[in-house]
């Protein structure tokens, strides 16, 4: 065990995978000598060589497409796309090929690969650098979508993603990379994909969150406790396949749900949570499921970005509304 931030924990996971499994290859823009935009691959090229940690031309579709070919040939490529907004040129490769080859070939060919992508805002970055469009990947058959919120989960989930027989889009919350430190076990361990975790137990309301919003959800729960409101917090961890059972069980217990996502509101992850909860727990609901999300606008630039990303205030306000109903 040692205390580390999420960027370090992910680096550690990649080092473990590279060391233990020679099929693992890393590809991405600037992941070698600079160690990637967020330094997640720091030192790995030096340690494992240019053939296993590959700096690529600026061509996201090409990176994903080449990695797809490698995966079909039996390697375990782990791609880094610099920001979620730059995954869009690779959208066709991800949706039409990475997510489909198993179905297209009735299991004859498969593409076990991981596409790591920093996502979300909060650092006042330039246009296209603060995307939270995970919903579009969660809507895509044949891929799994993982979004850890803490260092230990990040490492365990990344190792699970690399082991997974199916392709995984692995979303890393940018503003968490260096913001949280915690004990992270040494060596190989995995967290199961598709399993959400109740990270704080409560009885009055359920807060469902993932990625960077997990922190805000926990802070909101803390604030609410002061007011005598007991909030349960669920860390989704995997967005597809969604762990509906854990969410629904909590909703049945508390009767109130606030679904939190930094992504756009319409047809977003929070919409899915609301749809699932009303579907399976309607008669337990004491109030409508509240969605606390980014708005249906482009993420504003630095000067006004804070009004877009939901914060503790908006979560607490939403909880209050569920209590009023």
């Amino acid at each position: 065990m040692s205390v580390m931030n999420m960027a370090r924990a992910l680096n550690d996971a990649l080092a473990v995978a590279l060391a233990e499994d020679e099929r693992v290859v890393l590809l991405g823009e600037d992941i070698g000598r600079t160690g990637g935009v967020f330094r997640v691959t720091d030192g790995l090229q030096e340690r494992f060589g240019e053939h296993r940690v590959v700096d690529t031309p600026v061509a996201e579709s090409g990176i994903v497409g080449a990695a797809f070919g490698m995966a079909v040939a039996g390697l375990r490529p782990v791609v880094e796309i610099q920001f979620l907004g730059f995954s869009y040129p690779a959208y066709d490769q991800i949706v039409s090929h990475v997510g489909r080859i198993r179905n297209r070939s009735n299991h004859r060919f498969t593409a076990p690969m991981v596409i790591r992508i920093p996502f979300g805002g909060g650092i006042g970055a330039a246009e296209h650098h603060s995307e939270s469009s995970e919903a579009i990947y969660a809507h895509t058959p044949g891929i799994k979508v993982v979004a850890p919120g803490t260092p230990a989960a990040a490492k365990g989930l990344l190792l699970a993603a690399i082991e997974d027989p199916d392709p995984v889009v692995f979303l890393e919350p940018i503003r968490v990379y260096r913001a949280i430190k915690e004990e992270v076990p040494e060596g190989r361990y995995t967290f199961p994909i598709g399993v959400a975790e109740v990270v704080r137990a409560g009885s009055d309301v359920t807060l469902v969150a993932y990625g960077a919003m997990l922190r805000d959800a926990l802070q909101a729960a803390g604030a609410l406790e002061g007011d005598g409101v007991s909030a349960e917090v669920i860390d989704l961890r995997t967005l597809a396949p969604l762990d509906a059972a854990t969410v629904v069980a909590s909703a049945q217990k508390t009767g109130r749900v606030v679904a939190i996502s930094e992504g756009h509101r319409t047809v977003g992850i929070a919409s899915e949570i609301a749809a699932l909860v009303q579907e399976r727990a309607l008669y337990s609901l004491l109030a409508p499921v509240e969605r606390v999300t980014g708005w249906d606008t482009v993420v504003p630039l630095k000067r006004t970005e804070r009004h877009h990303i939901p914060g503790v205030g908006r979560i607490v306000a939403a909880v209050r509304r569920t209590l009023e109903d």
Partner: protein, 347 residues
């Protein structure tokens, strides 16, 4: 740029043959078999037994000659119009029929056949060949990957990224552009302003070769050279094979809307099968009886494949849930249950 040519229109050798007579006879038979498949598929489509079908008549030499240069364990990544090439590399005819019947098992060749299901998205698959060959190189194998694509496909951004990666990493990739003159209704000269497609190789630091794609021997020779370079670790090659799509784009297309019928006359004279037949006739390696035999063997092979494909019972209603991940997720299992429940309700 003059295209590489080894056989003239009358089947006379213009240079040294890259193949012995027995091999030429074998590839002639392969072209005849491929044409039998092509005709059969069109016929089945007319009868409603196949979905839309993309004919390749006229392009047999590109596909047969190109794929003949591969080793059985090499990779092939091709398109909806490349059944002949895929079959050459081990993909069974019944799998090819099955795909066109609308059955996912058509995308699943037997173990050991390193041929991906045909790419339907134009342009996206060439980079897959780059990745496949690159992986082989990384693990020390000398397998190469060949990819077929059309003239239209060269306009897609993914063609560019694939060529660029192949150039930068010197991957063992053979790019075969099957320039059949058309991309649906778009003629080659309006697809790109470059005089040839072969010259595009220069933009990627890669050799580009122009070849008469209706000349089986020339096609084989340039493919063999490109495969050799790739296998020796000397990097990728772009081959532009000049050929022509004698049919419509697919059985759903009406080529009369955009192509004058008489533009085909010239290409009929260049028919790749006829040309090799003339060559064999001149060298007395051909007899009517032998060709008759080839044709009837081919017909039987194709008929048997149709029977096998049509004999396979369709998937049950829930099968898609089993094909999506290695194991169906809880949610997919729930969806399967819902489907079966509702089907029961209907029945």
């Amino acid at each position: 740029m003059e295209p590489v040519r080894i056989l003239d229109l009358d089947g006379r050798l213009l240079g040294e043959s890259p193949l012995g007579v027995e091999e030429i006879r074998r590839l002639f038979a392969a072209m005849v078999t491929a044409r039998a498949y092509d005709h059969k598929a069109s016929a089945l489509q007319l009868q409603g037994r196949l979905a839309t079908y993309a004919q390749f008549e006229g392009q047999e030499a590109v596909q047969v000659g190109g794929a003949a240069a591969l080793r059985p364990d090499d990779w092939l990544v091709a398109t909806y119009r490349d059944a002949a090439a895929m079959w050459m590399q081990g993909y069974p005819w019944d799998g090819l029929f099955l795909g066109r019947m609308g059955d996912e098992r058509g995308g699943s060749p037997p173990p050991g056949v390193n041929v991906l299901p045909p790419s339907i998205t134009v342009g996206a698959h060439m980079i897959h060949a780059v990745g496949l060959g690159w992986a082989e190189r990384l693990r020390g194998s000398d397998r190469v990957a060949m990819t077929f694509f059309g003239d239209g496909a060269t306009s897609e951004g993914d063609f560019h990224e694939a060529m660029n990666f192949a150039g930068v990493y010197r991957t063992p990739t053979v790019f075969v552009c099957e320039n059949n003159g058309w991309a649906i209704s778009m003629s080659r000269d309006r697809q790109t302003a470059s005089e040839t497609i072969a010259q595009k190789a220069d933009a990627y630091g890669m050799p580009g070769v122009l070849v008469d794609g209706n000349d089986l021997l020339a096609m084989f020779a340039v493919a063999r050279d490109a495969v050799g370079r790739a296998r020796r670790g000397e990097g990728a090659t772009l081959i532009e094979a000049l050929t022509h799509r004698m049919g419509a784009h697919t059985t759903a297309d009406d080529a009369g809307r955009y192509r004058a019928e008489d533009t085909l006359d010239e290409w009929r004279l260049r028919d790749p099968v006829d040309r090799v037949r003339r060559h064999l006739q001149a060298t007395e390696a051909w007899s009517e009886a032998w060709e008759h035999d080839v044709v009837s063997t081919a017909a039987a092979e194709i008929e048997a494949a149709v029977a096998r494909a049509e004999g396979l019972a369709p998937f049950g209603p829930g099968a898609a849930f089993d094909r999506t991940y290695a194991r169906p997720t809880t949610d997919l299992e729930a969806q399967r249950t819902a489907l079966l429940r509702d089907l029961g309700g209907e029945g």
